[in-house]
Amino acid sequence: MKEVLTVANKEFHDGLRNRWLVSITLIFAALSIGLTYFGGAASGEIGITSLSTTVASLASLAVFLIPLIALLLSYDSFVGEQESGTLLLLLTYPLSKTQLLLGKFLGQGSIIALATLLGFGASAVVLYLQIEDLSVLVTFSLFIASAILLGLSFTAISYLISLMVSEKSKAAGFALIVWFFFALAFDLAILALLVGVEEGLSQSLLTQLMMLNPADIFRLVNLAGLDSSDVNGVLAIAINSSMSQAQLFSILIAWVILPLTLATFIFKKKKL
């Protein structure tokens, strides 16, 4: 356990040193406070709009940004150390591959989690001070918790990428493709299915399909409770699904644990 913490501590400090924590926090805070104030600008009003509009805009933005940031932060975690030779060296230390992986996950995961908490937490506080409604805090807690899980999930996915390729540049390319697939292409594909298939997809099948994408689960968690007028696209159909928040959260957690387990497995098989 001590080894895991040593690695985690190093990774966390790397995140501080490289200004990752500061920049992610600032980006999240600027965007969320901006959206909170100007989210209604399109409909002609400035100032704080309804909670559901704010969360809807935040969620649709976060669903692009968080995976991208998580992938950027971690895509070179292993392949980078492999290229510089420190990975081989670390493996001759009394440190198991699982410990190394968990340590990195703990360190980099904390960076993502902390940035999400601080960045979006800031706008939660701003909004709460304006509206003074406890439901703000409840909604935002859900939003932040699911955003953290989304970030962790993509951190785990980027470890998978980082362990499967042998060059840093390839890992970067792969990360971009993975991001494009989960953030954009997946939804478009489902839409195409909806439109293209004659008999139409049943609502439950559609929801099940969406469980294959952590970004969609994140959207469902945050948009399910809102007015459907703020939601559009495939989600509007899936939203009235039978999934409870607890179920959605469990699947999102599975999306963290499964890639991480798979990454450990690949790491153990990996030749150096």
Partner: protein, 314 residues
């Protein structure tokens, strides 16, 4: 075998197409320094990785401190092994002290150990600077400090003196001698190093995964039966007219290549010249011994290779 610190028994390691190591048997006693020589791709690094337990052998048995290094039981002995990889660039954005503290902590030591080691390798003055500002030699020293963490029982050093200036190299060999006195075993891996001779107990020569020769330098030299080089001064080509000496002559210069048993006889003959004003006698050095075994290996292999190629074609 069991009292040996490291023992390899007919160990082979092959990757898909490539036989990185073929049936290597060797052992290393406590307090022994072994020089491992071979050109690029000879299997030196593979052998080190096997001993470190980072990879597992395809055949044969590796034992380090009585256990297989790739097994779970070897876990606690890892803290007693130091390794300097051939190509390593430490975390550039960290300071030297931070890098070394990280590695020390992973081995169960603290910052103080790191500071002491940095002093030992002589980069205390730069320990608060980022590694990216370090010169090649300083990086190598940092790597060595890393390998020395926890006074290891076994040290594996891959090209340890690359990038070190002569003074630092001397310091390094002094440290190796000191570690040896303390009972540590060292495997020095390298292309041929000048000046390594007096610091190693035994040498091992590898080529394309095969063990070409192993033994003390004296043994290797004897087996190779290399001629002694004798350079007399002031003779101005008189040798080429001496029937006893002209057969030893090598090229146009006054350089004689004499087999070991004839050495004294030739020297006596040379001393008979009035004009001689200098005499330089040089025994075959490690590099020549190494070249000899490599050449022999190539010669013995070429007919066999032709045979293999023929088989593949048919």
């Amino acid at each position: 075998m069991s009292n040996m610190l490291v023992s390899l028994e007919s160990v082979s390691k092959s990757y898909k197409q490539l036989d990185a190591l073929q049936s290597i048997t060797m052992s290393l006693a406590q307090g022994e320094v072994l020089g491992l020589f071979g050109h690029n791709g000879a299997g030196k690094t593979t052998m080190m990785k096997l001993i470190l337990g980072v990879i597992s052998p395809s055949a044969g048995q590796v034992e380090v401190m009585g256990v297989a290094p790739d097994s779970k039981e070897a876990w606690h002995s890892r803290a007693k092994i130091g390794y300097l990889p051939e190509n390593v660039s430490f975390y550039e954005q960290l300071t030297g002290l931070e890098v070394l503290t990280y590695f020390a902590k992973l081995k169960g030591f603290n910052k103080k150990t790191a500071i002491d080691l940095l002093e030992q390798v002589g980069i205390t003055h730069a320990m608060k600077r980022q590694v990216k500002t370090y010169s090649k030699g300083m990086r190598q020293r940092l790597g060595l400090a890393q390998a020395f963490i926890g006074e290891p029982k076994l040290l594996l050093l891959d090209e340890p003196t690359v990038g070190l200036d002569p003074i630092a190299t001397a310091d390094f060999y002094q440290t190796v001698d000191q570690l040896k006195t303390n009972g540590s075993s060292v495997i020095l891996c390298s292309h041929v190093l000048p000046g390594v001779e007096q610091h190693i107990d035994r040498a091992m020569i590898l080529s394309s995964g095969k063990l070409l020769a192993m033994g003390t330098l004296a043994e290797l030299r004897q087996k190779a039966d290399l001629p002694v080089t004798i350079k007399p001064g002031g003779l101005n080509g008189a040798i080429s007219e001496n029937s006893k000496l002209m057969s030893y002559l090598n090229g146009s210069k006054d350089i004689l290549h004499v087999p070991e048993p004839n050495k004294l006889q030739v020297i006596r003959e040379l001393m008979a010249y009035e004009a001689i004003n200098d005499l330089h006698v040089e025994h075959a050095n490690l590099e020549q011994v190494y070249q000899y075994y490599l050449k022999q290996h190539k010669q013995s292999q070429s007919p066999q290779q032709a045979l293999n190629n023929g088989e593949q074609q048919s």
